[in-house]
């Protein structure tokens, strides 16, 4: 079963990369493909070739003035309620916009949550292009997870990601109400971006720590965690011994206690049972 699933995943990955190659060859950008979510398995969403287009940048500025300027200030210089965006770069803008974290629905200082993106792919392309034009922040990383070694990715993931996001990628608690989010919804591009830009509390993992190849491996492993089945049955949220203990006590002990209650029931002697169990 597992093998079959893996084959399918690999096939899907290969198919997707083939589609990307074809798209590049025919001059049709990934953004066109992004209209149908499944043709953009890596989560680029934006039209990568359009980011330098002045018209797109201008459109981005219009959107920025409407939706972002109140917190981030004119031309991304920052404001009391939001950080400057001059060196945020395309990667940050792309990360926050595609994961729906921006525009934030929470007050400044609180942790923005992943939600449905507020903008469509064209608008995100424009906004990313505009933010990228403000300074020289990092570009949107290109990821190639289908060529990466998943097991090595797992090794790296456990070294530097599992401490916060948990070995199963389910996320975890941090100090003062912060939460390392679950990676179960993250797209490959977002995972790579997060490593490079260190959004929020997350540390930065620059090329000194992870080469581009290693980033691909980690991205591949996160994909793998999202796709891999649970051979043991219901996974109980994959958060370890706590739900397991809960199930053992409530279902395991509970069911056996019910059995004991039934087995120990004496027919025509309900009087005793009632009295004794008081």
């Amino acid at each position: 079963m597992l093998a079959a699933r893996t084959c399918r995943v690999v096939a899907a990955g290969a198919g997707a990369s083939l589609a990307t190659v074809l798209a590049v060859l025919t001059g049709v950008g990934p953004a066109a493909a992004a209209e149908e979510g499944h043709d953009d398995p890596l989560g680029y969403v934006v039209d990568l070739d359009a980011l330098d287009d002045p018209a797109v940048v201008a459109e981005g500025r219009r959107l920025y003035q409407r939706g972002c300027v109140s917190c981030h200030g004119a031309d991304g210089v920052g404001a009391p309620s939001g950080p400057p965006l001059e060196d945020a770069g395309a990667a940050s803008a792309h990360f926050y916009l595609t994961s729906g974290r921006m525009p934030a629905a929470v007050p400044a200082g609180a942790q923005p949550q992943r939600k449905r993106p507020a903008y469509d792919s064209e608008e995100i392309t424009a906004l990313v292009a505009y933010v990228a034009s403000l300074g020289d922040g990092p570009e949107i990383p290109r990821v190639h997870p289908d060529e990466a070694d998943v097991a090595v990715g797992g090794e790296l993931f456990r070294q530097d990601c599992a401490a916060c996001h948990s070995a199963t990628g389910g996320g975890g608690a941090q100090s003062y109400g912060r939460i390392a989010p679950s990676l179960m919804e993250s797209t490959p591009v977002q995972v790579a971006e997060a490593m490079r830009i260190g959004p929020g509390q997350m540390p930065v993992f620059g090329p000194e720590r992870f080469s581009d190849e290693e980033v691909d491996e980690i991205v591949r492993y996160v994909q793998f965690l999202q796709e891999v089945g649970d051979p043991g049955g219901f996974a109980l949220g994959r958060i370890g011994p706590i739900p397991e203990g809960f199930v053992a006590i409530v279902i395991g002990l509970g069911a056996t206690l019910l059995a004991a209650f039934w087995v120990g029931k004496r027919r025509e002697q309900s009087h005793d049972v009632e009295e004794g169990s008081a």
Partner: protein, 306 residues
């Protein structure tokens, strides 16, 4: 297996059976009886089917969920059948039995004590011999310490030493040395003393804080600090670095350390700061340790400071 007769005719020593309460054959409730029999038959049949299904599942390659399910149904079927059988068709008369006396009579205790102490009367130096005997046992016990001693080495400097010494490079898990300028602000990197990559006692967090003010006891390089990765509570790797708040959090028991203030514990059960590694840069521009950690790393122990 009717027991009606036994309960009247075969009253055992110290037991008396009260009037019959359960067996349906007495009550003559045929309908209930046949319903019960059908229930048992059904339970066992289900168990048989589940057992066969289990064999099939296993022989075609196995599938954990189906295996568990059929096993559960097979076992449960037998269980339900057995219990219904017992409840409906086995004697459920109430028997009263006198409790036995647990304590023995005084004579018995006397006799036992006598037997136990037999042989003592002829001894003249009883106390000396007993002491010698105990001494022999004690000596044997002392000798028995030595096989136990073989289980592990004497706990020596090991708990206090790591692989660091003056001039030892800080390297990644793959043995790559690290330059200060390759770390962008907000970076955390786990490093080891060169030649000890992966050692359990010396993982070290190298953090570029990007902050101007650091309160540290040991020399360091720019805004970069190096702390032992092992929590001073129970030695878990303190792997959660909260970049914005400059906190290190231990995932095991949530001790929280202030990165800018010498990794002092500010929350949770840890009582001591993470030991800070004095670091510098060698002539080739790579990080080196300027010495050993000033305190032993990891959880505390009795003679930590000795």
């Amino acid at each position: 297996m009717s027991d009606g007769v036994r309960s009247d005719g075969q009253v055992h020593e110290g037991q008396q059976a009260s009037e019959m309460k359960g067996p349906d054959e007495r009550s003559g409730d045929r309908a209930s009886r046949s319903w019960g029999e059908r229930l048992v038959a059904l339970a066992f049949t289900v168990a048989v089917l589940a057992g066969l299904a289990l064999t099939v599942v296993y022989s075609v390659g196995g599938q954990p969920q189906l295996e568990g399910l059929f096993l559960a149904v097979a076992l449960g079927g037998i269980g339900v059948g057995a219990v219904v059988w017992a409840q409906r068709f086995m004697p459920s008369e109430e028997v009263t039995e006198d409790r036995i006396e647990l304590g023995s009579t005084d004579e018995e205790v006397e006799a036992f004590t006598h037997s136990f102490e037999t042989g003592e009367e002829s001894l003249e130096r009883r106390s000396l011999l007993v002491k010698l005997g105990l001494g022999a046992l004690g000596a044997l016990g002392l000798a028995a310490v030595f096989p136990i001693r073989s289980l592990g080495p004497r706990p020596g400097r090991g708990l206090k030493d790591t692989g660091y010494a003056e001039g030892v490079r800080l390297v990644t898990v793959h043995g790559r040395p690290v330059r200060p300028d390759s770390l962008v602000p907000g970076t955390v990197l786990t490093v080891w003393p060169e030649g000890h990559e992966g050692d359990a006692d010396s993982p070290t967090l190298l953090i570029r804080t990007g902050a101007g003010r650091l309160q540290l006891a040991q020399p360091t390089v720019d805004d970069i600090v190096a702390y032992s990765k092992l929590c001073t509570h129970t030695g878990c790797p303190v792997g959660l670095y909260q970049q914005q708040e400059q906190l290190l959090l231990c995932p095991c028991h949530q001790s929280t350390f202030d990165v800018l203030d010498g990794a002092e514990p500010i929350f949770g059960p840890a009582a001591r700061p993470l030991p800070q590694l004095p670091i510098g840069v060698d002539d080739q521009g790579f990080f080196v340790a300027l010495g050993e950690f000033p305190q032993p790393v990891g959880g505390g122990f009795w003679d930590r400071k000795r």
